[in-house]
């Protein structure tokens, strides 16, 4: 089992835990699928994840894990960071930067240390 895939899945679990109380698992899953869809243009190996849409509640972390474990460690880290950023962008488009920041602030530095919050000024 790849360590990067574990980290990736743990990051999504943290996102789901932070946001699903507000938006519901379905709301988080919808944004997750949208991010996967946008990223699958460059990374077609993500497409299988999308076929699980509508089958359960919450982001399909099992499908994500099985897709990631077939890739190299560095690629997993890069792609997952891109997925997280896409997800954050999609959320910010809907509810605005400041609210997104507010909801994800506590977990973002742990799950995406290379990508500081955009409006973090202090």
């Amino acid at each position: 089992m790849s360590r990067s895939a574990d980290i990736a899945v743990a990051a999504w679990e943290a996102v789901d835990a932070a946001l699903s109380p507000i938006f519901g698992h379905n709301g988080v899953a919808a944004l997750f699928y949208r991010s996967v869809y946008l990223s699958s243009v460059d990374h077609p190996w993500l497409i299988p994840i999308q076929t699980t849409q509508g089958r359960g509640t919450g982001p399909p972390l099992a499908a994500l894990r099985s897709a990631l474990t077939q890739r190299s460690e560095p690629e997993v880290a890069t792609v997952n960071r891109m997925l997280l950023c896409r997800f954050r962008e999609q959320l910010a488009l809907l509810i605005g930067e400041s609210l997104t920041d507010r909801l994800l602030r506590s977990i973002w530095s742990d799950i995406c240390p290379e990508q500081p919050m955009q409006d973090e000024t202090s």
Binding site: P21, I22, N26, L94
Partner: protein, 495 residues
């Protein structure tokens, strides 16, 4: 014994006008229903109250059930100024229960609510929306009165947790004997009333236990700062029945007119200036405000002329610029008199104004939503009483149709609502169109019965002497008085 009865604290809702309508605020620990058709402002009302009321000491929980998806609700609600993102996950928590709801199990839903309430011990609880609950109740196994049982449980639970609770419901009709209605302490009904092309939002407090609510439908508006309710202006202060003794009368700003009115306008009076188009009503109104400014008084003018290039007299424009006269010029249509009254009263309070001008009643009526036109006189009377209770003197202008066969002072029957009346007319004298004015009425005061010619020049209205030999002027066709009247009545010719 009154001293041992429980004291109910009332919460200020943070919605302007709403506390008055509720009869002094929202009773603490009450169980309320906000109902209305889609789009009538239920979620907005709930959010506005929540953001105003929630503090760290008084946290709020907002349960979203299968209503508006929370992603979109947060997207739209943050457009309003009351939305404070810093309160989120601090004094305000959103809890999504759509998945519990989808299971169709009201017992499970109640469990989840209890878990959250025990975890956060909120003082305010919102459940949005309730329509979806009743749908689930119908679909799930028909335990007798399952929804009523659920609501009753919820009400008891929330009251024992000392939480003020709001259920946000949809599509309810007032005739529908919904069990929720009997359980609720408060029923706040939101409506959109449609008449012709105009839509007006109205709020009704159908029930609020233990509160002297203001009955009736109260207009409200949703702006960028949220909901604003236009409660009927407070008219509890009794009107005085004559000129207050010891108070100086107000100068009208037209030389000679004060004498005609027995020394000026008694303070607190309302004066109707009626006349045909162009006769000089607005100029008289400007003179009235200027005379106040000379005396160090402030005023408020409500102008309803819709012409964008409307030129105000320079003197008034200066007073408005220097904030000695407040200008109320509603840019929106579909107004209600209560809304105008609340704008006027707020401006009177802000400036400490003593003089108010409404120019004109005719244009004001046009600016009203059709649904309010039928009640124009009633609401105007209420507005005048409210203004009178603040002690201001009001001058209103009114268009008067040119009619020479009868003597009219106002097309609305508004004349009796006012304390004083000045009428302006056109007359033909020596083949020229001339203006005359007369003081028709100054309640409880002597006044002149003269008709006076007047003209308007650069500095305003100038009273002139009447030609001594004219009569029948108000008929529009004065005749030269005969030098020697016939001594006996002319015999009437019978056919």
């Amino acid at each position: 014994m009154i001293s041992t009865s429980s004291i109910i604290c009332r919460l200020a809702t943070g919605v302007p006008g709403m506390d008055e309508v509720l009869g002094g605020g929202l009773p603490e620990f009450s169980f309320n229903l906000i109902a209305g058709a889609p789009g009538c402002g239920k979620t907005t009302l709930a959010h506005q109250m929540m953001f105003a009321l929630a503090t760290r000491e008084r946290p709020a929980l907002y349960f979203t059930i299968l209503g508006e998806p929370p992603l979109k609700m947060l997207r739209y609600q943050q457009q309003f100024e009351y939305f404070d993102p810093d309160k989120l996950n601090d004094s305000i928590r959103f809890v999504n229960l759509s998945e519990e709801m989808a299971s169709g199990n009201l017992g499970l839903l109640m469990q989840r609510i209890v878990v959250q309430v025990e975890k956060y011990t909120p003082s305010l609880v919102f459940v949005d929306s309730f329509h979806s609950l009743s749908l689930v109740a119908q679909a799930s196994e028909p335990e007798a009165g399952s929804l009523q049982y659920f609501v009753q449980n919820l009400a008891v639970l929330m009251t024992s947790w000392q939480a003020t609770t709001f259920l946000i419901g949809e599509y309810f009709s007032g005739n529908d004997p919904n069990p929720v209605f009997t359980v609720a302490d408060g029923l706040i009904w939101l409506r959109q009333s449609v008449q012709r092309n105009s839509v007006v939002r109205k709020m009704e407090i159908m029930k609020m236990r233990g509160q002297p609510t203001l009955p009736g439908l109260h207009t409200f508006r949703i702006g960028s700062d949220g909901i604003k309710v236009f409660a009927p202006a407070n008219i509890s202060v009794p009107r005085h029945s004559g000129p207050a003794p010891g108070l100086e009368r107000l100068r009208m700003g037209v030389k000679g007119l004060d004498d005609m009115m027995g020394g000026g306008l008694p303070p607190g009076y309302s004066l109707l200036v009626a006349g045909p188009s162009g006769s000089g009503k607005s100029i008289l109104a400007s003179a009235f405000l200027s005379a106040g400014a000379v005396n160090g008084e402030t005023g408020v003018i409500a102008a309803f002329e819709q012409r964008p290039n409307f030129v105000r007299p320079a003197a008034i424009a200066d007073l408005i610029d220097s904030d000695r006269v407040g200008l109320i010029r509603p840019a929106v249509t579909d107004l209600s008199v209560d809304e105008i009254a609340s704008l006027l009263l707020a401006e009177v309070r802000r400036l400490g104004a003593t003089r108010v001008v409404i120019d004109s009643l005719s244009a004001l009526e046009l600016a009203l939503a059709p649904t309010f036109r039928d009640d124009f006189r009633e609401s105007l009377s209420r507005m005048l009483s409210a203004l009178a209770s603040t002690g201001v003197s009001v001058l209103m202008t009114s268009e008067l149709e040119d009619r020479y066969t009868d003597l009219r002072f106002s097309p609305y029957g508004t004349a009796f609502l006012t304390d004083a009346i000045i009428v302006q007319r056109y007359v033909e004298i020596d083949s020229r169109l001339q203006r005359v004015l007369a003081v028709v009425k100054v309640r409880a005061s002597a006044h002149s019965s003269q008709l006076r010619l007047f003209h308007i020049d650069d500095s305003g209205i100038k009273l002139d002497e009447m030609p001594p030999d004219q009569e029948g002027i108000l008929g529009g066709r004065p005749t030269r008085r005969r030098l020697r009247a016939p001594t006996a009545a002319t015999p009437v010719e019978m056919p």
